[in-house]
């Protein structure tokens, strides 16, 4: 089977500001002066109905200035970024349990652990260099278990693959928890000292016998038992997850169910034992750390805490609204009911990345004013009133980003941006000046030092030290010392005062995917990434990958036979929300009834027309991982494309 010759749409860089008077006109080039004036007027007239989409791919410094713009200039906490579409449940779950939203261990530790559980994570494809650390661990003797509906290339390295039904993660986790308790493998000393709510948890998981779990998850009871015993008996175990856990309508509950296992066994807060959510974007950790989320100020400090607010109000000479802002999902809902009228969107492409993309586009069109700041004219930018050309964070600006192991690292300018493209921070400051706030930042380091002054977790990280240590992990409160590579060691302290707040078990119940399969939509569609492509493909489409073969709907061999379709044959894929036409690929790693697609080629096959906007009520993340679809052979007469 030869690979399909399909070059994705390549985007060229934006080099000049673009403006237009009404949405049905084409864009025309404008001077920076005119574009910024227009943007400022558009935002000014919508004060009180404003939302900021910050960028999980830009630097910490940019995110700091962006959230400051929303809070100080526009007076709102409505600031969020695409972390909402991926790992917000991890942050919500981890901070509910431990008071801090970061992954608890470091990459290096996974090389020195005994058991690795990769849950809902195809790291071999999506996080290849993290997976090299996993492979080192396996070569050092660790046993790896893969929990994933698909037998992925990650699962190929596993001791055992637990191919559960999509959306049955909580039954699986609860059954593991029950087995650990019943086998007498729970770490009772740790539970008593460092956790709360164990009795409730024990009652919660009691019904989830191995045989019931086998019925619900589709995984043999023996395999679940083996994983439970391996995890509980290990001296050190790592539990890693990605979007297979979070992109569900109950993503935060899923995360809590996994955290429960670490609390039950004491597999957290020690070297080599911890919880590791693998982040999808270069700065999705940092964006949240910088306060570009509606409920936290920089340094992940809670907005509802009056002392924290006072500190920032003094530092910024402003008044901070004492309530949480709208998150990305809520902002989209607010567009619908007309209470959000203006959006400043930096480096995001929600028109293609949101679940149920048709609805997202319709809502963006309803805005009174949309200003998009990006390096390309994305599908979202095409909907805007003003488009501002920015620099590429990773190669054209100075600053820092924060990775999945909380390591803050320097980003440096290597190439000169094209045309009149300007740095994000400059642009935001120009707009702030036009709206009455004259901010002066000589460079990214000035911004960083301001952040350090208000965030204790970052205080010790000077640019000089970041270069010296090749990045430093937070927390880093001192300019003299470095903290351990893992978090929450306090939970093991004998002295209750030093141990701090205990970690509560999450009392979460199984709730199957919202989009149920039935006779009309009998196939479960799940989504993910391929090795050589990234998200909506705007960047990764730019290079000639020999691995790229365009978008396919991947089916199990059994389903392909059932529908009488062959590789390369175009079929109609429909869900309750929309339909797309895509060619078939047959993947033996899929089980009957399970199909797989990516979102990498939305200009070609817009997979998010199929996905459901059923959101996690806590974190607001949509259920990208579970839609119900049907496959229809195209009648010959209708093959028009």
């Amino acid at each position: 089977m030869s690979k399909r010759d399909r070059t994705p749409k390549t985007y060229t860089r934006l080099t000049h500001p673009l403006v237009r008077d009404s949405r049905d006109e084409p864009f025309r080039q404008a001077s920076w002066q005119e574009a910024l004036d227009r943007a400022a007027r558009g935002l000014e007239r919508n004060r009180g109905a404003f939302g900021m989409f910050s960028c999980a791919r830009a630097t910490n410094e940019m995110n700091y200035v962006a959230q400051k713009f929303a809070r100080v200039v526009m007076g709102t906490n409505n600031v969020d970024s695409c972390n909402r579409t991926c790992h917000a449940p991890s942050v919500a779950g981890l901070s509910a349990a431990f008071g801090s939203g970061g992954g608890t261990s470091s990459y290096e530790e996974i090389e020195h652990t005994d058991v690795i559980v990769m849950w809902g994570s195809n790291a071999r494809f999506a996080h290849p260099i993290f997976f090299q650390h996993v492979l080192k661990g396996i070569r050092n003797g660790a046993r790896m278990y893969a929990v994933d509906p698909r037998r992925t290339s990650t699962a190929e390295w596993a001791e055992s693959w637990l191919g559960l039904n999509v959306g049955t993660d909580i039954p699986m986790a609860h059954a593991i928890g029950r087995e650990i308790i019943h086998a007498g493998l729970a770490n009772e000393a740790f539970i008593a000292r460092a956790t709360t709510g164990f009795e409730e948890y024990r009652a919660l998981v009691e019904p989830w016998t191995l045989s019931l779990a086998e019925k619900v998850t589709g995984v043999p009871a023996r395999a679940i038992r083996e994983l439970a015993h391996a995890y509980a008996r290990a001296e050190r175990a790592q539990l890693c997850w990605t979007l297979g856990i979070t992109e569900h309508h109950n993503g935060t509950d899923n995360v809590r169910a996994l955290i429960n296992l670490s609390l039950l066994t004491g597999q957290v807060g020690r070297y080599g034992a911890g919880l590791q959510p693998l982040r999808g974007q270069n700065n999705v950790q940092g964006g949240g750390d910088m306060g570009a989320i509606p409920n936290r100020l920089p340094g992940f400090q809670d907005i509802l805490d009056p002392a924290t607010r006072l500190k920032f109000e003094t530092a910024w000479d402003t008044v901070i609204r004492p309530h949480y802002g709208l998150n990305l999902t809520e902002m989209f809902e607010a567009m619908e009911d007309g209470t959000l009228k203006a959006v400043y969107c930096i480096g995001e492409n929600p028109a293609q990345s949101e679940a149920d993309s048709e609805q997202a586009v319709r809502r963006l069109r309803q805005l009174d004013f949309l200003v998009v700041q990006d390096i390309f004219l994305t599908k979202t930018a095409e909907l805007a009133d003003v488009v501002l050309p920015a620099t590429a964070g990773w190669a054209e600006t100075d600053g820092t980003t924060t990775n999945s192991e909380r390591r803050v690292q320097r980003v440096r300018r290597a190439v000169t941006p094209p045309g009149e493209a300007r740095e994000d921070i400059d642009i935001i400051c120009e707009l702030a000046a036009r709206l009455g706030h004259d901010w002066k930042y000589a460079d990214a380091e000035t911004v960083w030092n301001e952040l350090r002054s208000v965030s204790p977790d970052h205080y010790g990280m000077t640019y000089e030290r970041l270069a010296e240590h090749q990045g430093i992990q937070w927390p880093c409160p001192s300019t003299e010392a470095l903290e351990p590579t893992y978090l929450h060691g306090r939970l093991w302290e004998k002295d209750p005062a030093r141990r701090g707040a205990p970690a509560p078990f999450g009392i979460v119940r199984h709730d199957p995917p919202v989009d149920l399969t039935d006779e009309r939509y009998p196939i479960r569609l799940t989504t993910g990434r391929r090795l050589d492509s990234y998200n909506t493909g705007v960047q990764s489409g730019g290079f000639a990958s020999p691995l790229r073969r365009g978008e396919y709907v991947e089916l199990s061999p059994e389903d392909a036979e059932h529908y009488g379709v062959v590789v390369g044959e175009k079929v109609q894929v429909s869900s309750r929300r929309g339909a797309v036409v895509a060619p078939v690929w047959v993947d033996p790693a899929l089980r009957p009834g399970l199909a797989f697609m990516t979102m990498h080629f939305p200009d070609d096959v817009d997979t998010n027309r199929l996905t459901i906007e059923a959101n996690c009520p806590i974190a607001g993340t949509a259920e990208f991982k579970a839609s119900a679809i049907r496959i229809d052979k195209l009648p010959v007469a209708t093959i028009v494309r």
Partner: protein, 286 residues
């Protein structure tokens, strides 16, 4: 029961290099100690992120009491050892190795080799123009990287990087035996029909430029490759949350090559296809 030990503080061993007393941490190689002492030992097959392969023998030194010359890259330092790096015998051996390699392989893109040939007075030409060469056209079968086996010294670093030491993809291996040994993918097929995932971690470790970015290969062919005009800037990859460090090699404001620092705690010099080759979008400028 934990399978891996976390290590204990390492002792310092005392021994001599060229008569001077040196101290090196337990477990270091002679090469580590020589470099720490400021001695220049040539190396080709040695890789700072790979286990020693002992293939090229260009780093040999004399050790008191050892019948044969020892490869500095793999021999561990021992207390009381007397190492001599610059004896007639060691120099002669290096000279022969350089002559044999340079007569049979195109070393035109091997860093530093010209200096070594001069220093050791190697005369690769003495084998005449008929010295065995592969005489093979570079393999250009994809848009990302090129394999020019005329430049291959069979050091196996690419095999190790692709195999169990880092990438664990096993696309690259040794085909043939003896004089017919060569580096190939399975069935000597084009890369596009192999297990290759285009991480380029083989390029990162290739000492001779036999494996190179297509951008570098094309610019060298066109005569525009000029390292004196290139800057190297280390930044962070934008493709996922792992946070790999990228060193962007930039010439005339174009990214022409991407490497990663070998001592970086996140990457150890390794990248994936997106980090290594996925930079083009920033320079699609018109």
């Amino acid at each position: 029961m934990t399978v891996t030990s976390l290590g204990i503080p390492r002792r310092l061993l005392e021994f001599t290099i060229d008569g001077e007393a040196v101290r090196a941490p337990e477990g270091s190689t002679i090469l580590d100690a020589c470099r720490a002492a400021g001695k220049d030992i040539p190396t080709l097959c040695q890789g700072d992120t790979l286990r020693p392969k002992n293939a090229c023998r260009v780093c040999v030194v004399e050790v008191e009491g050892s019948r044969t010359l020892v490869p500095a890259c793999s021999r561990r330092a021992e207390p009381g050892m007397e190492v001599r790096t610059d004896t007639e015998r060691a120099r002669h051996s290096r000279k022969i190795v350089l002559e044999l390699l340079a007569s049979s392989v195109d070393l035109s893109t091997t860093p530093q080799v010209a200096e070594w040939i001069k220093e050791y007075e190697a005369k690769p030409d003495r084998f005449g123009p008929d010295a065995a060469r592969l005489n093979e056209e570079p393999k250009v079968d994809n848009d990302l990287y090129v394999r020019d086996y005329d430049k291959c010294i069979l050091c196996y670093k690419c095999v190790d990087a692709c195999g169990d030491q880092w990438q664990n993809t096993f696309a690259i291996s040794v085909a043939g035996r003896g004089f017919d040994a060569r580096i190939a993918v399975e069935h000597d097929a084009p890369l596009t029909d192999s297990a290759c995932v285009y991480c380029g971690n083989c390029i990162e470790v290739c000492p001779t430029g036999a494996l190179s970015f297509k951008s570098e290969f094309d610019m060298r062919t066109a005569g525009t490759w000029d390292e004196t005009r290139q800057s190297q800037t280390t930044t962070v990859c934008a493709y996922c949350g792992v946070g790999c460090n990228l060193t962007l090699h930039v010439q005339d404001n174009e990214i022409v090559k991407v490497t990663s620092p070998h001592d970086n705690p996140v990457t150890h010099g390794n990248l994936c296809i997106k980090g290594r080759f996925g930079y083009q979008h920033v320079q699609n400028r018109d």
